[in-house]
């Protein structure tokens, strides 16, 4: 059978052909891949013979002698070995080496860049390599498995050791335990009993092992316990506890408390492990306790107290007869019911649940609660409740003693209601007084301010007299209002003393000076006697002490027609830090009738029925002085004899202090000062107050601007900056407090804001300061007060005598432009004044109508008013305002825009009106 060259290559891809010259004349395709020859090459240049080695030589003839031998050759350069055999092809006289590479491991395939397709399919060398590799893999896996098993074995050994140790420990515990520990198999027979068992039972353990456990029980308990443990077995309960008496060998009964665990043995059988403790002593105590409890419960019942016991779930365990009477249920109806759900309505349940939580936390408590009786009637009870516990300190329930307090409750409710009513009435009174004083003080502010301004202007002596009368009346009115306010503050307990270093001598002298004029008018002698140490400086509320003395002095002068009024102050005792001082005001006046002496310190009372008309006053002065004295820790007393005179005196203790440097006001004559171009925004809904501020601020060359409520002020602050804002508190639209908060929080502006208010309670001041205000100016204020406020925050300049430049005035009256009117009217000042007054009046009315129309969103009406106002505005206002008026009249705007324009317009016209009014006052009143 002849093989074609092609098949020869497929079957023997690694063959070598040798010629007689022992040269490689041809090689198979895979062999060519390794040796890469392209011409006949001597065999020995490429290969060496590895086997046979000694019996063979590198020659054609020698090879011919080894045709039946396994021949191993290797490539000299690449060191790859081939195993095979030699075949002689006689017809071509050539020897062929038929074989394939011998590879030691799979990676050599890669080394020699051989692939499976380089081998004959029938060649098993690659299969062998694969087999080799799988064996390697398995070997590795076996090693890994072995290591895992060793680790597991070690772990088991160490666990076993721990178990053994634990077992040993427990065994010791069991053996030496003072409690009886035993095992019983599923048939109920003892299999183990610990040594103490002999002592407890009186039997030898060997006598008991193999016996049924009922050997230790009387008949009743034998039955009971057998059933008990059959139930545990049936229900597969892990643990149970029971208390029972067992019978010792000597016949004595002893109580045991026994826990039993149901366990499975290794063989799968179930058995019981029991731990039993001698509780004989405890049982005896319990019995004694129950007897004692019954005794006390009996006592409680006899005391008409309802006694109730509930478990931890609030289910009633026991209700005593008196309790049943209280709630109208029988005990049978109550037992087992949830006490909270049965006896309490929803609201009371919440209270009870809180109490229960307290009780479960171990606290006893006494509280009141409303119960609902069976017949629906509500009754109030006072409950004293206490928790109780089992032997392991677990909360298992509570008992409560109930006392019927329904009648007391009804009375309490009535009292509470009466108290609330009284409090409401007091609050209403306080509010009324606060409101009234505010309402009076606001116009009073204007009156006093205006009087002051007028006094500074050129007036004739008669006018001066009238004016002083107005001023004095308003001051006395202010005094009355302040009295009322102070009294209401005192009564509400809202007045606190401000103790500051004070020169007492100076205060007393000032008081005397104050009354000197009046005394002179009445030709009464005024005396001041001070018997004090050299240092007369004390921590004292100068204002309040002054008020007491001034009240007493005022009264004394008022009621004295001839003679004298003395103010005495003397040291009566002294200690390390303070001095006790006695103040006396002695007069030689009408005196107080004996029967009135008791009443004179009552509010709104006066000694003489007719004295309110003769002497005037509110009758509050003494009441206030008395309360203020008490605030100082003293009491105001009086000695008086009718027609001879009265002595009012009080003793108080003041703490000494060292004299402080007095801060003198840097500038005393404020009329000579100015705050040039200080931009001040006055926010007040009261036109008169605005006007007053404007007039005062003008004389100090301030650049003042106005807003009639908080919202307007905010809008203005958004557009421009001011040095200081005077902010009224009670205003429509947006009040001063909210406006200040907005300015601080939303606008983030630090502008100085001063509260302008008649509400000066401490709580009010706190509110202003919390809102971000820098200070308070109390209404009614005097020029001096406003000056001081400005001086605190702004730097004043001393005025020069140079006349104020005209341009300032023009800036001030920036909205007014009178030239068209002057052109129209010529220089006729009278008509001009009339025109201006008329404009102010009409414009004010128009603005009101426009504002109302805006509220009602009546656009046509708004436009018609704008049309009406346009004509007069074009005569006396600047072009900008006229343009704004035209816009409102003619432009089609959305309602929001219109509202904004109208607000802007009314504000500006308002300002225009006040500027014109000022011009009327300044220019046309000369």
């Amino acid at each position: 059978m002849e093989l074609s060259a092609e098949n020869y290559n497929i079957l023997f891809p690694f063959y070598i052909e040798l010629d007689r010259e022992f040269q490689l004349s041809r090689v198979g395709p895979s062999m060519q891949k390794i040796i890469q020859i392209n011409r006949p090459t001597p065999f020995c240049e490429v290969f060496q013979i590895d086997r046979p080695k000694l019996s063979i030589s590198a020659s054609f003839d020698s090879f011919l002698n080894h045709l039946d031998t396994l021949v191993i050759i290797s490539h000299i350069e690449k060191k790859i070995r081939f195993r095979g055999q030699l075949i002689y092809h006689e017809h071509i006289d050539r020897i062929h080496f038929i074989g394939s590479p011998w590879l030691n491991n799979i990676s050599e395939l890669q080394t020699f860049e051989l692939h499976f397709s380089d081998f004959a399919i029938q060649d098993s060398i690659t299969d062998n390599l694969q087999l080799l590799r799988s064996k390697e893999i398995v070997n590795n896996e076996m090693i890994q498995l072995n290591q895992t098993l060793i680790a597991q074995r070690d772990e088991l050994l160490s666990k076993n050791l721990i178990i053994q140790q634990t077992e040993k420990k427990y065994k010791t515990l069991v053996e030496f335990s003072n409690d009886l520990i035993y095992r019983v198999n599923s048939s109920g027979k003892f299999t183990y009993i610990n040594p103490i068992g002999e002592k407890i039972t009186g039997y030898k353990n060997s006598e008991l092992i193999g016996q049924h456990f009922t050997i230790l029980l009387n008949e009743v308990y034998a039955r009971k316990l057998v059933n008990f443990y059959l139930f545990q077995q049936k229900e597969n309960l892990d643990t149970t506890y029971i208390e029972f008496p067992f019978v010792r060998k000597d016949g004595l009964e002893v109580w045991l408390g026994q826990s039993v665990n149901l366990v499975k043995t290794e063989s799968g059988e179930r058995e019981f492990i029991a731990l039993a403790r001698n509780i004989d002593e405890q049982k005896k105590n319990e019995k004694a306790l129950i007897r004692s409890e019954e005794k006390y419960k009996g006592i409680i019942e006899n005391m008409k107290l309802g006694f109730l016991e509930v478990d931890s779930q609030d289910l009633i365990i026991r209700a005593y007869p008196r309790f049943c009477d209280l709630v109208g249920y029988t005990e049978d109806e109550l037992i087992g019911k949830n006490s909270i759900e049965l006896l309490l309505d929803r609201e009371q349940q919440i209270i009870m649940n809180e109490q229960n939580a307290q009780r479960q936390a171990g606290e006893s408590s006494v509280y009141e609660i409303q119960l609902t009786r069976k017949d629906g009637e509500k009754i109030w009870v006072l409950i004293s409740g206490a928790p109780y516990y089992d032997l392991e300190d677990n909360y298992i329930g509570s008992f409560g003693i109930h006392l019927d307090i329904t009648e007391r409750k009804i009375m309490e409710e009535e009292l509470k209601k009466a108290k609330l009513e009284a409090e409401a009435s007091l609050r209403a009174k306080e509010q009324f007084l606060a409101n009234m004083s505010h309402e009076i003080r606001t116009p009073l502010n204007a009156m006093m301010g205006m009087s002051e301004l007028l006094l500074q202007s050129k007036i004739n002596p008669l006018q001066l007299k009238y004016l002083e009368a107005i001023k004095s009346s308003s001051e006395s009115l202010l005094g009355i209002v302040n009295d009322i306010l102070n009294f209401s503050k005192l009564e509400a307990g809202k007045l606190e003393l401000k103790l500051l270093p004070t020169d007492l001598k100076k205060v007393l002298r000032q008081q005397v000076d104050l009354f000197q004029l009046k005394a002179d008018q009445k030709e009464i002698e005024l005396k001041l006697n001070i018997e004090l140490p050299e240092n007369t400086h004390y921590l004292c509320d100068q204002l309040r002490l002054g008020e007491i003395i001034s009240n007493l002095m005022g009264n004394a002068i008022k009621f004295t027609m001839e003679g004298s009024v003395s103010l005495n102050c003397q040291l009566i005792a002294s200690n390390l830090e303070s001095d006790s001082l006695r103040f006396e005001v002695i007069d030689t006046g009408v005196g107080i009738p004996k029967e009135k002496l008791d009443q004179i310190f009552d509010e709104f009372s006066q000694a003489h029925n007719s004295s309110d008309t003769v002497f005037g006053g509110t009758g509050l002065g003494l009441a206030i002085s008395k309360s203020l004295t008490e605030l100082f820790g003293g009491s105001l007393l009086v000695i008086s004899r009718e027609k001879e005179g009265s002595t009012f005196y009080f003793e108080i203790s003041l703490t000494r202090c060292s004299p402080l440097e007095q801060t003198e006001e840097s500038i005393s004559d404020f009329s000579e000062c100015s705050f040039p171009n200080a931009r001040i925004l006055v926010v007040d809904d009261n036109e008169l107050n605005r006007f007053l501020c404007q007039t005062i601020l003008d004389q100090w060359d301030c650049n003042s601007h106005f807003a009639t409520n908080g919202e307007e002020a905010i809008e203005m602050l958004k557009k421009e900056d001011f040095d200081l804002v005077l902010m009224d508190i009670q205003m429509p639209v947006l009040n001063g407090i909210d406006a200040t908060k907005y300015i601080r929080q939303e606008l983030n502006k630090e502008t100085i804001i001063i509260a302008l208010t008649a509400n000066t309670f401490e709580s009010d001041l706190k509110l202003y300061s919390e809102a971000g205000m820098n200070g308070t100016l109390s209404k009614p204020f005097k020029q001096h007060d406003l000056f001081k406020t400005l001086q605190t925050h702004l730097v004043p300049l001393q005025k020069t005598s140079e006349p104020k430049p005209e341009i300032d005035k023009a800036t001030y009256h920036h909205l007014v432009n009178l030239s068209p009117l002057r052109k129209t009217l010529g220089e006729n000042e009278q008509i001009m004044k009339k025109m201006l007054v008329m404009f102010c009046k009409n414009a004010n009315e128009d603005l009101q109508v426009m504002k109302t129309a805006m509220v009602e969103a009546d656009v046509p009406h708004i436009k018609s008013i704008a049309h009406k106002m346009k004509a007069s505005l074009s005569l006396l206002s600047h072009e900008d305002l006229v343009q704004l008026c035209k816009c409102i009249e003619l432009d089609e705007m959305e309602l929001d825009h219109l509202r904004e324009a109208v607000q802007n317009f009314t504000r500006q016209v308002g300002e225009l009106i006040s500027q014109i009014e000022k011009i009327i006052l300044e220019e046309f009143s000369k």
């Binding site: 799979i106 990676s107 395939l109 890669q110 051989l114 692939h115 499976f116 397709s117 399919i121 690659t126 299969d127 390599l129 694969q130 087999l131 590799r133 799988s134 893999i137 398995v138 896996e141 076996m142 498995l145 895992t148």
Partner: protein, 181 residues
């Protein structure tokens, strides 16, 4: 099936989803065997159960699981255990595919208790091979698809595989068209 197959499933899950997931898969498939020896034959049912529970635990279809497993087998298990041998399987993807029938016949010698599938490859044209897959087991078609995709990735070559037919004639016979780009 030999342990090496189950080992590969374990490798795929633990590497990608963690040991805890593998324990879940085993528990779900009720497979208690703590480890698999690669040259030991295990019941085919174990492998099927593992594939089923993988599908449930990972919320993937059984086809997706088998495909992932096929790819993993070539790229991880084959490379790790038979790296050199795999690489010697052919000069390129096409060459390897041509050797695939002989490769499986050889495996039978190495693992005498194995009944490996048979493959037949026809060279349809220069770029297209037709692969016949014969197996006594049912349901492993997507495993084969994953394997072939894995092989293409191993040689970093692109190919498109189309499943042309599937028939049952005493054994299962699938025909795939593989276009090598």
């Amino acid at each position: 099936m030999y342990g090496i197959v189950n080992q590969a499933i374990k490798g795929l899950i633990t590497e990608n989803y963690g040991v805890e997931t593998w324990e879940k898969v085993k528990a779900k498939g009720k497979v208690n065997t703590p480890f698999f020896l690669s040259d030991q034959p295990y019941d085919d049912d174990i492998t099927y159960r593992l594939v089923g529970s993988c599908s449930e635990v990972l919320e993937l279809s059984p086809e997706q699981v088998l495909f992932a497993f096929g790819e993993y087998w070539v790229l991880k298990t084959g490379q790790e255990k038979y790296g050199e041998l795999m690489k010697s399987g052919g000069r390129d993807f096409r060459d390897f595919m041509k050797n695939l029938p002989n490769f499986h016949s050889r495996i039978m010698l190495v693992y005498p208790k194995l009944s490996p599938p048979e493959f037949k490859v026809e060279e349809f044209d220069q770029n297209t091979l037709l692969l016949h897959y014969y197996s006594g087991r049912h349901g492993l078609t997507h495993f084969v698809i994953g394997l072939i995709h894995g092989l293409a990735k191993m040689y970093d070559e692109k190919m498109e595989l189309k499943h042309l037919s599937n028939e049952h004639n005493g054994h299962w016979h699938d025909l795939f068209e593989i276009k090598i780009n």
